[in-house]
Symmetry: C2
Subunit: 230 residues, 2 copies
């Protein structure tokens, strides 16, 4: 069953999904589809109007998936090569994440991030992995502004192994909590940023013995926290 | 310190690394470099000849890293879009893996895999993550031929959640073992392949509740087995 995304309470698919359903998949009136609102509701529906700009559907039944008993938030500095951060978003959404926040650090080379493209990737990954929740995506802000937004229980800042952070995230994170992990840019966090984070209640952790790229570190933290809750 | 790769017992860098060291990094005679043989040995060395085709070096001291007390082998069917499998190789090498084997399944759309490019990516990832071991990479073979090569202790076959495999890999893999995990193509394994694997001592496992792409499943298995040994 093809899964589509319609966040609004309307009885037709978005323009992108309408085109995909009618033009690409050649679905017609009476064909069954699945539609998620990205907030845990998944509708079984049938197409009532095969319009490639505004494909109508009628809901037959709705299944609501409860949200997870834990939440993972990764805050990451966009990489110089944008493909890498887009790749992280796709993979993190596939395996499971509640919120992705972006920030520009003192050592960030990239100072611009278009969230629209990132959102498209997240939506595609949600559909592809057949999930009913679309993670929250936050516009990139400064590191200080980011810290202002943190209200998560367990707070971690990933730091390169050769600096003073001997504790592996796997050893100190505990199950069923609301986690937030900060992942620095290619140039790493500045000393000032690390101090700010520690002052804001973040614990310094490593994600393993190897030096990881920014996007690899971000995904590894997300994977680890998911496994912790298996 | 820049890390280079020279698998042979010679006192000069490969042509690629020579060009990178002399042309790109502009290193000269007397500059210090690090050189790994990909088998656990890491040499501290100095450049003796700044030749961009054949950069000579003299070893000052050698550090040998013992191999890990466990080993991870992932056998994966190359994806239709080769970028995805290349991405998996880069990430798996970064986080830690001993061996990557490729196979063509009954439902594989891709029937060709150039190992040379994959090797370049693995070498770059080993250097980038500052490791001294280069994982073994095996040429793609048929699924039956692949099973012939399996001598690993703990054997798992990742299978889509909606099929009969309720056990998560995290629940049955144990620490400090030699693992092998089979990851199917986009079209999944055929029933025949699953039966062959089970007959060869593989246990069916899932990697989480979501439907994962081939390369995501492969990396997730690798991540999980690494975490199991933290």
């Amino acid at each position: 069953m093809h899964l589509f995304y319609q966040p609004d309470q309307v009885s037709f698919l978005t323009e992108d999904d309408s085109r995909h359903a009618v033009k690409t998949l050649r679905l017609g009136v009476g064909d069954g589809i699945a539609v998620t609102d990205g907030h845990g509701n998944r509708h079984s529906a049938v197409i009532t109007q095969a319009d490639s700009r505004r494909c109508g559907f009628r809901i037959i039944e709705t299944q609501t998936t409860p949200s997870r008993p834990f939440s993972i938030r990764i805050c990451v500095a966009p990489t110089k090569n944008i493909d890498r951060i887009e790749w992280f978003v796709e993979k993190a959404v596939e395996i499971g994440i509640e919120r992705i926040s972006f920030f520009f650090g003192q050592h960030s080379e990239r100072r611009v991030l278009k969230l629209e493209r990132i959102e498209k990737i997240a939506i595609a990954a949600m559909k592809q992995s057949l999930q009913s929740y679309l993670p929250q995506l936050d516009e990139a802000v400064s590191f200080s502004d980011l810290l202002e937004t943190v209200n998560d229980e367990q707070r971690f800042i990933a730091h390169l192994p050769d600096n003073s952070a001997p504790t592996n995230l796997a050893k100190i994170a505990t199950a069923q909590r609301r986690y937030v992990v900060l992942i620095g840019p290619e140039g790493d966090f500045s000393e000032k940023e690390i101090q700010q984070a520690v002052a804001a209640g973040f614990q310094m952790v490593t994600l393993g013995p190897n030096r990881l790229r920014t996007e690899t570190a971000a995904l590894t933290a997300c994977q680890l926290l998911n496994f912790l809750n298996v």
